[in-house]
Symmetry: D2
């Protein structure tokens, strides 16, 4: 933000620092220093470290290749942004873990930060275009010097995947080894630990399970929905049966039966559990119900912000998968696919990660299969309305302002 003046409200500076009595003396010193210079842009950003960390292997080996600098800077920029994504991700997980999310006021933070991750991933997609100004031939000139370093070793990216909820038991092995075994001991430890913490997926799952309206002795969304859907399908069948026989009628009847099967599967908890066990579904049955409830009642004030959250979570999933795909395309360009000559496992490895098994919020996408016409969505009556509107009040037992730094 070159030229940005950061608004020099020195006197406020004093005031706030005085609020913290134990450091009032220091703060005065601080002010005096500031008047003679004080905090300086480059020191604040630690640019002495940031812009001096570009050491070219090719230069060390006596054959400096111009483009290696771009290669380094691009990867460092990726890592800087991964750091930021982890920062946002950890803060959101913390809000969920600490139960602060029960205070609906924290939903703004959750949404803003998740949305920020979305914006960062969009930038990271655009960033490929810069690295792609380097051709395969430019890369060839120095790629040997980098051996055996590999982008697979990006600790932050693996952490990020783990914390969002990429399932470790579905990970494609790399170099024929468990993914963690490609890291140093300390890093491997770090990764193991991240596997054991609650993932964003799990935290969202628990939150979805608490969606108001799911209670069987309350609004009983799931029960009402099941009744409505099968009544709807029954009527469709009736209408269809009254039509004169025709090829079209046959087709439509077949379609209707297929549709019925799909919905039968939706209300079949055992089938759900089976799909979970095979990794085709990732959330609990209850959480799925919560998500569908939010979908259908997204316009209720209580559900507008939750609906945005679900949308952003799908954005993240989509962007991560696009990131992987763009990466595959770039690697293909840089090192070829070995043309079936049995070469690089790198390209094949990367291609294998562009699959639904790396998708975390796949259930949110697949719910699109289970939509029903608006007129068959169970109606909210005034008492339910109230219930929904009041819900946050019930949760809001907070008095003091929440900690901004969570």
């Amino acid at each position: 933000m070159s030229g940005c003046p950061y608004f020099q409200r020195k006197f406020v500076s004093t005031s706030k620092q005085n609020l913290k009595e134990d450091e009032s003396d220091d703060s005065q010193t601080g002010i005096n220093k500031a008047s003679k210079g004080g905090l300086i842009y480059g020191d604040y950003l630690q640019l002495d470290k940031i812009v001096t960390s570009q050491v070219l292997q090719s230069e060390l080996k006596g054959n400096k290749i111009h483009d290696e600098h771009l290669f380094i800077v691009t990867h460092q920029a990726y890592e800087l942004w991964f750091k930021q994504v982890l920062w946002e991700l950890d803060s959101v997980r913390e809000i969920f873990i600490s139960g602060h999310v029960r205070d609906e006021r924290n939903m703004l933070k959750v949404n803003t930060r998740i949305h920020r991750i979305v914006m960062i991933f969009r930038l990271l997609l655009d960033q490929f275009a810069v690295l792609e100004t380097m051709t395969a031939l430019d890369f060839y000139d120095f790629r040997e010097y980098l051996s055996p370093a590999s982008g697979f070793q990006s600790l932050q990216f693996r952490l990020l995947e783990n914390k969002i909820g990429v399932p470790h038991n579905q990970r494609v092995p790399y170099n024929r080894r468990h993914y963690r075994d490609n890291f140093r001991d300390q890093e491997s430890e770090h990764l193991l630990q991240s596997e054991q913490e609650p993932t964003l997926l799990q935290l969202v799952e628990q939150w979805l399970e608490r969606t108001p309206g799911l209670e069987e002795d309350g609004f009983n969304f799931w029960g009402k929905l099941e009744t409505n859907i099968f009544e709807w399908l029954r009527r469709e069948k009736e209408k269809l049966e009254q039509k004169p026989a025709s090829e079209m009628k046959e087709e439509m009847m077949a379609e209707l039966i297929k549709q019925r099967d799909i919905f039968l599967s939706l209300f079949d908890e055992k089938r759900h559990d089976h799909l979970v066990s095979t990794g085709q579904r990732r959330m609990s049955y209850k959480a799925l119900q919560g998500a569908l409830m939010i979908y259908f009642y997204r316009e209720e004030p209580r559900f507008q912000v939750p609906f945005q959250l679900l949308t952003s979570l799908m954005d993240i999933d989509t962007l991560m998968t696009k990131w992987r795909y763009n990466h595959v395309c770039m690697v293909h360009r840089m090192i070829g696919s070995k043309d079936g000559t049995g070469g690089s496992s790198g390209y094949q490895y990367l291609r294998s990660t562009v699959s639904d098994r790396y998708k975390v919020f796949v259930d949110l996408f697949n719910l699109a299969t289970f939509l029903v016409p608006r007129e068959w969505v169970p109606k909210l009556d005034p008492s339910e309305h109230t219930f929904l509107y009041m819900a946050e009040c019930c949760d809001s037992s907070y008095c003091s302002s929440s900690d901004d730094s969570d």
Copy 2:
């Protein structure tokens, strides 16, 4: 590039290293180490420095504000990319300074690297969208801690401006001081030095002055062009005079006279020098001629790549000015304009930099005023053709392959 395998051609590694006999022993050690691990991604990128340089002032002052992390990372990412832009810029200037550009083979490098700068600036424009996920209210929570640091103090950005050719005598003062006086001694020195080196503008100017075809005793482009243009305008006038009197005729005659004045100014060297002295033009008269020659004959094989270069230079100018404008927009949003209450000089300062006086290649844009119909562009006859085609041969007295690392 997570997962990218960098193509492990270990044996080639050996071969090339052996070419450098003085370090053959080391290289073997290198290889042995590699087999037990060797170069590691995180070490290569010095991530221990890159991802540990985010120290929040708000946290130091005992009031950690979540969003300050984004503020730091965004600025660090800008500085990383500024480093890369400087890297490309210096290498291009070096090719020009050393005279390597006379070997036309180096034009590919020049063009590729200038185009890379274009791509980086495009990314930097997109990057604003990430910082804009922080609202004025979020910024307010920590902006006092940053005082008096200012983005104006970005050394790299000022260097970049100087090296491209932003004229220092046209710089808007900052904090009522000469721009250099806002920096520490060593940095100020660095800036002064950059002012004294040849700028990209000057180097391009010299290169344009050498454009083949400008020689008065040769193709004499400028002389031929002047003749053609005034013959064209004379004929237009003749035709117009033969038309019956009408309001339209009057209008067109007035327009024609205006047009003639514009072209008279083009061939008036004194007027050119005057415009240079006031800063409205930046290039020599001869360089301007070269640029227009390249414009008109851009399809000649000899001029295709030079034409791309001129286009990219305009891209850089445009992107830098857009970058400044986006910056102004963001600062307005973050700290307001003070609403005429006489507050922040920051917003006003920034607005003043979004003007043509910070444009470096403004002459290339303004040449659009001096275009003529294709049929009035002086024809190349076969001997000139040959001349143009052969030109690079004349220059190419090189034998050894040029240094790749320039």
Copy 3:
């Protein structure tokens, strides 16, 4: 969406159509037709019109210029998207005008559609990059054929400006004429009418005036805020006075007085009205209060979605101003600035529109000047909390589901 199967749920088609009894016969016919082919992609999109509307003036004049096709298609794409922006804008204005916005459930629609406008403008900024593949020289080859047509004559863009709230009395004249006099009678009429309809600015203003919490006999936000701010500044002054005399103390005292003046102006309704009369502020005093209230209490569930709306409105303003600036840059490149030779008024005209007087939601930006530390924002006590949470219930006198097609 090549290949997208649009999910052929034929039987549902039947069901819904049967709900509308008066056309049940037609619907059957419709189905039969569908089975033999039915709706076809190209017919649906009227591609016979869309992709046959590219008529090159240069070709009509016997001198076909390849790049004119790009020029036409780009402008048509702009107009298509302007149509979409108007569609969203009109629907949002309708929700406000009809009072449907009092049903908080409609806020999701409002926000989604305003956000969609933001996304469209982002695309339109990217779109310049395509037209910029045409150089000034390519444009020169056909631009004479287009005379005197001018992009100024884009009816949809002028409508869009009017409906958002660009003030017509601040419009820069074009061709020395009132902007409407550059249009045909029917279009001019259309524009005049759009000036007389409520603008998005006015509708948002009225909505902000109703912000709960502003009531003087209720929470009395404005009164409480004034008290707090001056108490805060008084304490700052006290603290400052106790410090030993120093240059720094003088500076800080001066800064404090300046700050106090800024806040005095905030609570000075007469001054506000004066700024409105000069066009420096655009919203009513009450609306400004509402906006600041939403800023300060943005984390309250009731205010999260309104806060997003204010943010998106600023996005639109910023994007429109960036669009104008990018446009200026492109025109500079295409036709030059005439280099002070008194030529094209076009470039000068466009530059004059890139100013704050074309900004619509400028007040929302400038509120950033009036922020205060969190601890001085008036506290909500439990009764106010309830008030805020319940507010939407009070408004929600609706029973039937709102019309989706508004």
Copy 4:
């Protein structure tokens, strides 16, 4: 380009029109009309057709759904840009077909237009973000009305694929039918015809086969390269054999043998022909040699522009494949994947098109597998240099200026 003045050079208008004597009278009329208004923006762009072609099926069926408008406009924008891509593609193919490409001056046009296609596809990728503001639930409200229309039926996209060179025998069937059978007779005819015209791939292939330097009785690039590569590998082997036995040595020897096999395959024409027959390679053996020659000598003035062309062709391939992948992601989001319940073939169909068999210039990517260190690239001696530099002269038997409208 709202506000763009198109530079009203009326008198030039006259002049040029007078050049065409047969219409001198008309031109005068034209001018008079112009003075009273003349060409108008909206008429020029045929906006009466463009912005009135949005007819909502949902509205026709009595249930107007707001978001269908976005759906229509987005698809129309895609089709507009496809038209432009076809325009550029046809003009480039025409330059190749007519042999104009032998005049090297036309390479600027070829490159500019191919690069423009790249920029358009980048925009089309960004355009998904706008349509993604519509959720699955919004789409559900009207998707039934669109049945059975399908984006697969985009004639222009299929033409575009055919003209670039997507092999029809590798096309995935759609709806269990040959892809052409999903179109109306006239369209199907059009598609069949496009299959029979020379594709961009074939034209580039022929052009590559003519790369100067390939002649066996001349520079004999291929022969020299084969000699060099195997000499290089032989020396590597020798060096390796001198090292003491170790696990590392074994590994490197294995790697070396693998590498040798890869290069053996490169010089094995029969193997090449086999790969062509299975669709793994797409270009002739000779064309492959030309491409590799351009890669290795890309800095030679003669090859700089050709090298850019090859790079842009890979860009197009990559962007088309990314477009397909983004499309898959969006469809997954809009209609789900049917969760293994055997539903939509649409998602599965689309996924199957994101594969290397739809890649056209796959050979250009895979050449990255066959790079060699710079010191082993056959040297050009002065006579070859001259040869390379002079080559264009030999081709340039043109005298008259080439047709701009090709």
